[in-house]
């Protein structure tokens, strides 16, 4: 029988591609998930620390922690769980920093006093169009950054997770490791403080 070259399946030449491990479907989903949250996570960490390098380290730690502890959880739970890990890293960072700089507390005004301020004085004027709308893009971004950095950690996280990330109250509470009532309180105070701070800047 004559064998036509077309009927022979020639083996493709093998080439060494190194110790590459083909990602599984789960791993690809995990990769996509981390890709979807990493930038916002970095900005949150940056707002908390004020330093990009520290923020990058914290996000990397959060990714490690998330993959280690929660990668096998249902994908629908990943967002609050990832932010739970990040929130925990931010809290740890904040605690360490507080201990280190305690001796400086006399000279700096603590931004972590949630109970300060007169809530009636902070109540918004309903006829005002809002603070950021009166500023140009760059100024607004800079002022928003400053106002967010001035917020206490819990208030800032409540604002960012709830307003920016769009988590509902239950997931925000899960991410922050607190009750839903605390989330509402933190958010309410964050909104009042932001409005006031941005008014001052405008």
């Amino acid at each position: 029988m004559a064998i036509s070259p077309n009927t022979i399946a020639l083996p493709t030449p093998l080439s060494w591609t190194g110790p590459h491990v083909k990602p599984t479907t789960d791993e690809r989903a995990l990769d996509n998930f981390l890709k979807s949250v990493e930038r916002r996570a970095l900005r949150m960490a940056e707002l908390a620390t004020g330093m990009r390098e520290e923020a990058l380290d914290l996000v990397q730690d959060a990714m490690f922690g998330f993959v280690r502890h929660y990668a096998d959880k249902p994908a629908s739970d990943w967002t609050p769980l990832f932010y739970r890990v990040l929130d925990s890293r931010l809290n740890d960072w904040h605690r360490r920093r507080t201990v280190r700089s305690r001796w400086l507390a006399v000279f700096t005004r603590s931004a972590d006093d949630d109970d300060e301020g007169d809530e009636i004085a902070q109540a918004p004027d309903l006829n005002d169009p809002g603070p950021l709308l009166r500023l140009s893009g760059t100024e607004a971004a800079r002022d928003l950054d400053a106002a967010l950095r001035a917020l206490p950690l819990r208030q800032r996280q409540a604002f960012l997770l709830r307003v920016w990330e769009g988590l509902d109250v239950a997931d925000t509470a899960r991410a922050m490791g607190c009750s839903e009532g605390s989330v509402k309180t933190h958010l309410s105070r964050a909104l009042a403080s932001l409005r006031r701070a941005l008014e001052d800047h405008a």
Binding site: L42, A140, V163, S188
Partner: protein
């Protein structure tokens, strides 16, 4: 969005979200590269962890099986009034471990009665001839 806000908060909150989105969108290349490396490192560590723990898990399972068989053998020994596990019990225990750990020989053990019968037949034939 279901945040506790006044009707006019919508405008500046929406703008805040846009500004934050912009800041996350326009990160510099070096930062994006660091994030990418961090992500790959986290995924790689997860992968390595699974690979590292698999043999440990297998070893632990085997050890547990051996321990179970030994304990069972010893317990049976005590129940029968003998303080020490007899040698043939040790051999039986080792056989059980062999049986559990070796999938290939499972058929042999299942056909053991047949082989015994075959041997008996051959002995009968030898005696008859």
């Amino acid at each position: 969005m279901n945040t506790p806000q006044t009707p006019r908060d919508g405008g500046w909150l929406e703008q805040s979200k846009r500004l934050l989105d912009d800041s996350a969108e326009h990160l510099d290349a070096a930062t994006l590269s660091r994030l990418n490396r961090a992500r790959q490192a986290a995924l790689g560590r997860g992968r390595r962890r699974v690979r590292e723990w698999l043999p440990v898990g297998a070893l632990a399972t085997c050890s547990m099986l051996v321990a179970l068989v030994m304990v069972q053998g010893r317990w049976h020994g005590h129940a029968g009034g003998t303080p020490e596990l007899p040698l043939d019990a040790h051999a039986a225990a080792a056989g059980d471990v062999d049986l559990v750990s070796s999938e290939d020989s499972l058929e042999f053990y299942q056909d053991l009665e047949f082989y015994a019968w075959l041997e008996a037949q051959q002995q009968d034939q030898d005696l008859g001839s």
